[in-house]
Symmetry: C2
Subunit: 168 residues, 2 copies
DNA sequence: AACAAATAGTACATATATGTATAATATACG
DNA sequence: CGTATATTATACATATATGTACTATTTGTT
């Protein structure tokens, strides 16, 4: 093993001290919340680094991918917000940038005048096809430490965690 | 069941379409990355909301807790960055704010003149003791959908995921 | 001993993200 | 039908976060 030092150890150590001082402090939830945060920061940074040469950042990439996975490559800002996990104001800011880059376009909705339709352009589709191989490699590398069975179990548990958060 | 609609469904649906279009697209890693992101955003927002009446935000809370869990309530900025999972420039900005609020103080290090010692003040310790009950309640509620065995398994898998990210 | 390389922490310009007010429009209700 | 309520999307002021250059200092190397 190259280097078994666990980057989470400094965090866990401090939580252990807090638990000794306050036996009622819920160690497990505190550990889980911080693991999610550390993972998120790392995954976010790695994706930003890979996408930088393509002139987009991780959230922009995510929006493009959610449109790409939709019939007609089209979603409204509200739908895109839900699919991408972004606040509505951020959707406006991010989609402004993607429009400026010519990767998506905004058009009025036929059925509801309050709504806007966001659609991938030809350039947007081309860019996705361009970076997909690199992104696939990154994604595979990020989770290569997990066996398929473990990844499936992790998915199940993360979903359960998320579902319950949303019922509170 | 009150409302079984799964907030992650819009995301997963789009990933499924992408996988059909690109069989080599790694669905499992893409799902895991987005579950982590959705969880992080939600956990972050909930903590910010709870802490707002205390005049601090989630990252500031986290720094206070890492100091609280340390001998003498003292860490250097580098150590705090590692424990809290924050970039060094953010540590400077956040600790500036906590100093302004009188919750921590900066002093020179005896053993290394490049270093600074960050220490909780009496007011900082008092604030932690003040909000801990509410934070404990939030933490317990956030993970109450998971059985203890599931939470332990989730911790193990998240650690494995994180460890591997850091060996890349 | 002298110099090179690395580390610690910060300043600051820039990037990213958000809360909330607002206007326009659709839907619900009496 | 008229009015109230909810929804959609955005503007914009503010909050949060970061990359990188820099200075001071420590450690490593020759």
């Amino acid at each position: 093993m190259i280097d078994a030092v666990n980057s989470f150890a400094p965090t866990e150590q401090r939580l252990a001290v807090t638990c000794r001082r306050h036996p009622a402090f819920p160690r497990e939830p505190a550990v889980l919340v911080r693991l999610v945060k550390h993972l998120y920061k790392r995954l976010h940074d790695d994706a930003n680094a890979l996408l930088k040469p393509w002139g987009i950042n991780h959230p922009e990439y995510n929006l493009l991918m959610m449109l790409y996975g939709t019939e007609g490559y089209t979603l409204s800002p509200s739908q895109l917000a839900a699919a991408a996990g972004e606040k509505s104001a951020n959707i406006t800011r991010l989609t402004d940038g993607l429009c400026d880059k010519g990767l998506i376009e905004r058009t009025a909705s036929d059925e509801d005048r309050r709504r806007i339709a966001l659609t991938l352009t030809g350039a947007g589709v081309a860019m996705i096809k361009g970076f997909l191989p690199d992104v696939c490699t990154l994604l595979e590398r990020q989770t290569s430490g997990l066996q398929p069975r473990e990844a499936a179990q992790l998915e199940k548990l993360l979903k359960k965690f998320l579902d319950h958060l949303e019922q509170a």
